[in-house]
């Protein structure tokens, strides 16, 4: 975006990690970078808990009958896995960790627009997390993370508490989104117009739009569910004159857009990592920027594709099917733009770039298998099978997690000022790729052959694929563990990262590694396009002049 900061710039301030140490200073900080790191370790904790639950579930499915736990326990385990991973891990992951850390830096700002609100969002997250975990003491939840009525209004256990936890977590998400929109509008560096925004910012901005527009609807839906449980208000209960399918409409009106809360941030990370390691201007800047916004808005029109078999007119089904196909277009535009960016670039296969390529493969498989589910006739066959389970793990879990890891390895030197062991991180990335595909590719096959999701026992004929899937989960776990250990091991060294280890062009690489508390010694000014990798970058102003 501009030349590297003159190295002579006096670093008169200590970096943000060294200034004001101590637990109390961290818990009361309003520094977006520290909040991002606290989110990182909170989310990582829940990712480990959710991941262990996944391992336990896969272990149970090793044999067709009971392996290690009862059916009731199994129901609770997959519900808790789904609820933790959705509400406590995937939704906050990239925006709250990487977004909080990097967005103000990328804009050349000192902080987000509302730093105290930002800290509040973290505390709200912790409260919601505590509520979610407390359901274990209330007898667990066995509804699945989707809380479908009428089962969720009649079963016992901690359903109300889990639902309220998701409600509370929604506020945390709204606070983050609100902050990002206001920050992007008001705190851009001098000279930075909307089309000089790094694409990560466009992705976060689009995500924030969904967070603002969809989360309140989920909030009220969940409140209605609690009211139904406590007061029997009647809205979802057919015996009282209500409609249980109405819950599904309400729920997916949020939760389909929510899958874009999960994937748009992942795409945002890709748009930074790929140009940096291809040493080439991003191909189709505006196409990528606008496709993010298009996804954010179109995402509100497709919710009923989750309900093709729940009873709706063929005409409505056809429309929702068509709209779902339609929303695949902006996603495909992005993938083609990233590949075109890599085309004839000088690709540098550093760890973040390996994860990015990993993402492209995983996301493409996930995206293309979505088309089978968007088609009415094939969906009738595939609905509620392992095909669906595998599809959404590819797009939500795999893509999001791998993009998070790409971003984490990309900005780690900025976060902690240290370089990690390249070899070990590469091995971890490879293991994750193999493990993820080994876990979920068999699930496509058994799903298409009729293995229903969420079943505790299954027919003998599916065992081979279940065993393959379970072994895959072990490889995946080993890969993730190695990635975490490699990153943590780097913290034991003294700080050794230079301000710009990847030769990036965006503002964060002009700040120190790690930056000072206020980010920049001097407020940066936007002179060049964020992806101008030419030998002699041309200032935006001159480029605009020559265009006329």
């Amino acid at each position: 975006m501009a030349d590297a900061m003159t190295p002579t710039a006096a670093h008169s301030h200590p970096d943000y990690l060294s200034e004001n140490k101590g637990l109390w200073n961290w818990l009361t900080t309003v520094d977006h970078k520290r909040i991002g790191l606290m989110y990182l370790w909170s989310v990582a904790t829940f990712m480990i808990i959710g991941g262990l639950l996944a391992l336990v579930i896969r272990l149970e499915l090793l044999t067709p009958k009971q392996t290690i736990m009862s059916a009731e326990l199994y129901n609770r385990a997959f519900t808790l896995h789904g609820a933790i991973m959705t509400f406590l891990v995937i939704i906050p992951a990239i925006p709250a960790i990487l977004g909080n850390f990097a967005l103000p830096l990328l804009l050349g700002a000192k902080d987000v627009a509302f730093p105290r609100l930002n800290l509040a969002s973290l505390y709200v997250y912790w409260i919601g997390a505590a509520m979610a975990v407390s359901t274990l003491l209330l007898g667990g939840v066995d509804t699945g993370w989707t809380f479908y009525t009428p089962y969720s209004t009649t079963t016992g256990g901690g359903v109300s508490m889990m639902v309220l936890a998701a409600f509370v977590l929604g506020f945390s998400s709204i606070f983050t989104g609100l902050n990002f929109i206001a920050t992007t509008h008001k705190l851009r560096a001098p000279g930075m117009g909307w089309f000089q925004l790094p694409l990560f910012v466009w992705g976060m901005y689009s995500t924030a739009i969904i967070q603002i527009l969809a989360t309140p609807v989920l909030g009220i839906t969940l409140l209605l569910l609690v009211m139904e449980r406590v007061f029997h208000i009647g809205i979802f209960d057919p015996q009282l004159g209500g409609d249980p399918v109405l819950f599904q409409h309400f729920f997916w009106f949020y939760s389909h857009p929510a899958v874009y809360i999960m994937i748009l941030p992942a795409m945002a990370v890709m748009s930074e990592v790929i140009p940096t390691f291809s040493k080439k201007s991003i191909f189709g800047y505006k196409a990528i920027a606008f496709s993010s916004v298009a996804i954010a808005l179109l995402g509100f029109l497709v919710w009923a594709h989750h309900m093709f078999v729940a009873g709706m007119s063929l005409f409505a089904g056809a429309i929702f099917s068509f709209l779902t196909f339609f929303i695949a277009i902006p996603s495909a535009i992005k993938v083609f733009n990233w590949i075109a960016t890599m085309w004839r670039g000088s690709i540098d296969l550093k760890v973040p770039m390996l994860y990015a390529i990993n993402f492209l493969l995983i996301f493409t498989i996930g995206g293309l298998t979505g088309l089978f589910l968007a088609s009415l006739s094939t969906d009738v066959h595939l609905h509620d099978t392992y095909f669906v389970v595998s599809h959404f793990h590819y797009v939500m879990a795999g893509s999001n997690m791998i993009a998070l890891l790409a971003g984490l390895h990309y900005w780690w030197p900025k976060m902690y000022g240290r370089m990690y062991n390249n070899t070990l991180a590469t091995i971890a990335c490879t293991l994750i790729f193999i493990g993820f595909n080994a876990t979920f590719l068999p699930q496509f096959v058994m799903g298409s052959r009729g293995m229903p999701r969420r079943y505790y026992n299954y027919l003998e004929q599916f065992q081979t694929m279940h065993v393959a899937s379970t072994i895959g989960s072990w490889i995946l776990a080993a890969g993730l563990f190695l990635a975490l250990a490699t990153l943590l091991a780097s913290l034991r060294k003294p700080k050794d990262a230079v301000p710009n280890p990847w030769n990036g062009r965006t503002f964060e690489w002009e700040a120190g590694s790690p930056p000072i508390t206020h980010n920049f010694e001097h407020t940066p000014v936007c002179i060049y396009s964020p992806y101008d990798y030419r030998e002699n970058p041309v200032p935006i102003a001159e480029e605009e002049k020559s265009a006329h």
Binding site: P115, P190, I212
Partner: protein, 225 residues
């Protein structure tokens, strides 16, 4: 950053800060605009939150039109109308308060804010009278509905929505009272001036939304046919 020296701002400690300016903003206008944008976004989430309830109400109303019409006769439209007037008046006093803040008239600001609080309390008082009347007659949500002598069945559903929607709105009124008290306190301490009055403006915006939601709730609850 080749020609960086020409336009660069020096570090934040170097320029004098007007009171109320947070460190990460360059000037008061930027801070004010950011806060205002943030408030508008928050109001959007509020509209959508209530929007979900309005949609639920609409669907259940269309499923059970007779029950809803019969049930709404238990409400006294005169009390609803009174509360509508009270809230409209309070919106007016809030506007006057913001004006007083913009023109730096501290005493008038405090007076208008206190007036707004009093009107909000009148609203809650009327609500209390209405609610206790419903409790008395067993006109309660869901399974607690125990009203005797209904000719049309299923009226409990109307009261489910009545209590959820007016209840959620009432909570917003209470939060509004707290927020206005807070800025009254700050005004009394002399925090605001013609240059810095952002919080007053923002609480004002919130208060208008609370008013607006009631303007939709009133006909929906009291005037259906």
């Amino acid at each position: 950053m080749s020609d960086v020296t020409t336009t660069v701002h020096t570090d934040h400690q170097d320029h004098a800060h007007p009171p109320g300016l947070q460190h990460h903003f360059t000037n008061m206008t930027q801070q004010f605009e950011a806060a205002k944008l943030g408030m508008w976004l928050f109001l959007v989430t509020e509209v959508l939150l209530f929007g979900g309830l309005f949609v639920g109400y609409g669907i259940m109303h269309s499923k059970h039109p007779e029950a809803f019409v019969a049930a709404h006769h238990h409400l006294d439209w005169r009390l609803g109308a009174l509360n509508t007037i009270v809230l409209l008046l309070s919106s007016f006093t809030m506007v006057m308060g913001v004006w007083a803040a913009q023109t730096g008239q501290r005493k008038k600001l405090i007076a208008f804010l206190l007036l707004t609080i009093i009107l909000a309390m009148v609203f809650m008082g009327v609500k209390y009278v209405e609610y206790s009347h419903k409790f008395h007659e067993g006109l309660l949500p869901g399974k607690f509905y125990s009203h005797q002598g209904d000719t049309v069945p299923g009226q409990f559903m109307f009261f489910s929505f009545y209590f959820m929607m007016t209840g959620l709105h009432g909570i917003h009124v209470l939060l509004g009272i707290v927020a206005i008290l807070w800025i009254t306190f700050r005004a009394w301490r002399g925090h605001f001036s013609a240059q810095y009055y952002g919080p007053v403006d923002i609480v004002g915006l919130y208060w208008h939304l609370v008013d607006l939601i009631w303007i939709y709730l009133f006909p929906l609850m009291y005037l259906i046919s």
